[in-house]
Assembly symmetry: C2
Homo-oligomer: 308 residues x 2
């Protein structure tokens, strides 16, 4: 195998990338983690985490991200703040462009994450203060409250039904006059007394003092507007993988997520994908750390067995 700068390069410092880094550094691999922004990934904007095992009192996403980062650093992981702008992948060498710099590696772990599609109506300022993109994560924080939910696909309807176990009422706002979700989910939602449908409508804004208090909605057919009093707004209008730098070099699923098998192997030997950016059945911190551990061990075996 040709000489390279690194055995393993990891892209992204969320829970999946940091865990891969913890394992690879601890295994004394020659490894670099590249992160374009602040380490921690999506979780650093997560207000409170109750379901990552090991923290009975819960922990803020920011603190958890920092703990994982410190653990990786303590085990000797080298981290650089740079953006991968392009790459060329071959089984033997992976070449990464970081602006005008170029680095090479024998193997690559992609942990670049995904972002929920935004409404872009100013909801950012209510993140962790009423706005959420994940009912599994946040529904228990809205016991006996009223919430607005946005979307009409499988995830939106499944999550809206899940919400009704906790909240008093869900206004489900959908831009069309029928749901896209599968039949059985539709029936269950339509028969659920706690869900009121707001058809042909979009959310145009929200306001509140400490957190969400009002959600503003517009009917796209009649142009009528109304204000819904609500303590929260769940947004499920899609999730976008962060794969802009891939240059079509890996096989993706129909939604653009990187295809990977249970060893986290992608369509190119020595390239692994983990966490939110892969075609995973669930996007949670717990699943991200599992992916990261598997990929690090897979990458280690790949490097060792190729290096002879």
């Amino acid at each position: 195998m040709p000489q390279t700068d690194y055995d393993i390069v990891i892209i992204g410092a969320g829970p999946a990338g940091l865990t891969a880094g913890i394992y690879a550094a601890r295994a004394r691999m020659n490894v670099l983690l590249v992160e374009k922004a602040a380490p921690g990934g999506q979780i650093i904007i997560t207000d409170w985490v109750e379901n990552y095992p090991g923290f009975p009192e819960g922990i803020s996403g920011y603190d958890l991200g920092e703990k994982m980062l410190n653990q990786a650093k303590k085990l000797g992981l080298e981290i650089t703040t740079e953006e991968v702008t392009a790459m060329e992948l071959s089984p033997a060498v992976k070449t990464l462009h970081l602006g005008d710099k170029t680095i090479t590696a024998k193997s690559l772990i992609i942990a670049s994450g995904a972002s929920p599609r935004k409404l872009n109506v100013g909801e950012e300022k209510f993140m962790g203060k009423g706005v959420s993109f994940c009912a599994t994560c946040d529904a228990p924080f809205f016991r006996d409250k009223t919430v607005v939910a946005v979307g009409g696909g499988d995830t939106a309807v499944q999550e809206a039904i899940f919400l009704t176990k906790f909240v008093n009422k869900v206004y489900l706002v959908h831009r069309r006059d029928e749901l896209r979700a599968t039949k059985i989910l539709q029936e269950r939602a339509l028969n659920n007394d706690k869900i009121e449908f707001v058809w042909d409508s979009v959310v145009t804004g929200m306001d509140g003092f400490f957190g969400v208090e009002n959600v503003h909605v517009k009917n796209v057919k009649t142009e009528e507007t109304r204000t819904i009093k609500a303590d929260g707004c769940f947004v499920w209008i899609g999730i976008v993988p962060n794969t802009g730098f891939l240059n079509d070099s890996l096989e993706l699923d129909e939604w653009g997520f990187i295809k990977a098998n249970h060893h986290m192997e992608t369509s190119v030997p020595g390239v692994f994908a983990v966490g939110d950016v892969r075609d995973t059945p669930l996007r949670q911190i717990a699943t991200a750390v599992g992916d990261g551990a598997v990929a690090a061990v897979s990458a280690e075996h790949f490097v060792e067995n190729f290096a002879g």
Copy 2:
């Protein structure tokens, strides 16, 4: 769907089962966790954990198990100390025999774990004091030491090679005069200066004051015995899944682990397998919690969609 005692029953309170419990209880499912012994699983006999993300200073396995247990209890998980002795599984109803008691559930998450095959030469008293079953977990604790390793299969040879990154010397004790491992691993081990092979031999005992100091070895052909001065003993002679109660009701892989896909679905609808007992590529706390989260959400969807 017929009435059952529970929506979900989880078997086993290691990291995989407790995480499934955390997710299922938090999702307000009617869920019971059955554990035959002390909650925590294998990790409660793990001296020190450095690679579970979120604990930069490391944590004892016992403390981590207790934290996960307390988190599950705090979220309302019902836990009972009983042994599942047999079961009958159908897509609609899962019947579990707990001694002379019988309970039913719509779905079942099997997290009963696996145990490393023991030497049975008194190594139990040196667990966490020099005896280990996992180089990925424990090799960094043996920097610049001398260790004995036992086994001749892929895992043994791969782990022995991994150990040489940390230790000064590995005596690899194998009961035959050649390795069973794949060719490439054999070559790498045979060419590794730090590995000395002790062929045709078995470990007959070990002693030491605070931890392992001497490992006693016998040649099975010549009956000669020798004592190797060593600070540790790694045992890789197999891993045995805890599946005695299954009554051949689920499809297993060739080593007896439960086959499960990436939704953790087994060959029977509504039965999920997670953690060490499934056919997983890696057996770590990080991977167990990922499995547990996925299975809980899969079980929840199974119950909701069948219950209509």
